[in-house]
């Protein structure tokens, strides 16, 4: 018996169940959700604030677990995901689905109890969007999957704001738009050097369907859209100079990184001759970019 098969037969470890929640993705969700809550112009009881962030985290994890349940066939094909608990056989698909659904329902109920119905409703919509719109519908259908599906990851600051205030105004909508337009260049930079996996699994990621050259252009276009969107909170007077200067500098750097991706040494099909070094750098920078930009929101409000 192989090591993997034997390990599967022994059952899941506690960390396998936690892995279903996609903990690495959760970092950004927790952070942006917390920022939405912190910049809201309302004092919130710390217990309820922590509960709201916990609910956002658990809901995102639950959506991730349901995503792993649905995508178990393609996860088994892709090298990057083949060791996940379901394709590796350590957790039964039905168990993962039940785990995800129970956590999703509980997170929405607790959010409603601890904060308000608006926050709970947006939380439920974000889970449904990720599961039904992105995972089950768009992901395997269109190379634009990331563009529309990216909206699912843009909900946390809106939920955080709604948890604190009970309503949704222009600023959380702009924060939503920032993550919405940030997601395509972030993810396409990754897909430039991980497209082999998606191709094997038949997932129509942009580099697979339209080619690397087209993807590089799209990264540049979305970065150029992103920069003015990030400046909008400052232009409309919703956030101050600390945020405005940060958005400008960070945006200029993002454009520079995307420029390097666009003009990376490449063959006639746009395939990199430098092992996609600029795309890897752009992907890493995009994560840092969002953390610093949202951090600047909080600093601007608190200073």
């Amino acid at each position: 018996m192989s090591e993997t098969a034997f390990s599967a037969e022994l059952g899941a470890t506690a960390s396998d169940w936690l892995a279903l929640l996609k903990p690495r993705v959760l970092t950004l969700v927790v952070f942006t959700g917390a920022i939405g809550l912190v910049i809201a112009p309302v004092h919130m009881n710390p217990v309820l604030a922590i509960t709201a962030i916990l609910c956002i985290t658990v809901a995102a994890g639950a959506a991730g677990a349901i995503n792993m349940w649905y995508d178990r066939d393609i996860d088994a094909i892709m090298k990057r995901t083949s060791t996940r608990p379901i394709p590796a056989g350590r957790i039964a698909p039905g168990g993962a689905l039940a785990f995800g659904v129970i956590l999703a329902v509980l997170s929405v109920l607790v959010m409603a109890m601890a904060t308000n119905l608006v926050a709970a409703a947006v939380l439920a919509i974000s889970i449904a969007f990720y599961v039904f719109i992105y995972t089950m519908w768009l992901k395997r259908l269109t190379p634009q999957n990331i563009v529309i599906g990216g909206a699912a990851g843009a909900f946390p600051p809106v939920i955080g704001w709604a948890a604190a205030t009970g309503n949704i105004t222009a600023l959380p909508i702009l924060l939503f738009a920032i993550i919405f337009f940030w997601t395509p260049p972030h993810f396409w930079a990754l897909s430039l050097y991980a497209s082999g996996d998606y191709e094997r699994a038949g997932v129509p990621m942009l580099p697979v369907v339209k080619g690397a050259r087209h993807t590089r252009i799209c990264i540049m276009v979305y970065t150029l859209i992103l920069v003015p969107v990030t400046l909008a909170p400052f232009v409309f007077g919703l956030l101050g100079r600390i945020y405005g200067v940060s958005a400008l500098v960070l945006g200029a750097l993002f454009v520079a990184y995307s420029w390097r991706v666009l003009y990376d040494a490449q063959d006639e099909r746009g395939v990199s001759l430098t092992r996609n070094a600029p795309a890897r750098a752009a992907f890493k920078y995009s994560i840092l970019y969002l953390f610093i930009l949202f951090g600047a929101c909080a600093v601007d409000r608190l200073v």
Binding site: G11, T13, A14, N45, V47, L54, L106, M113, A114
Partner: protein
């Protein structure tokens, strides 16, 4: 006190002591996690209830 046997036919028939020990270790890990989650959930609901009662002036 001896370790309890895993409740699967396969385990009883073919597992070595080391494999059985690993199976029990994993099961114990899952049980501790579940206990932690349930205890945390109870504490969370209790804390929310206290805050809500306080907010609406029904406690103090």
């Amino acid at each position: 006190m001896p370790e309890p046997m895993p409740r699967t036919e396969l385990a009883e028939s073919t597992w070595t002591p080391a494999e059985r020990a690993e199976f029990i270790r994993r099961r114990r890990g899952r049980n501790w996690l579940l206990l932690g989650v349930l205890a945390g959930f109870c504490l969370l609901i209790y804390a929310i209830a206290l805050v809500k009662l306080h907010e609406y002036g029904q406690m103090w």
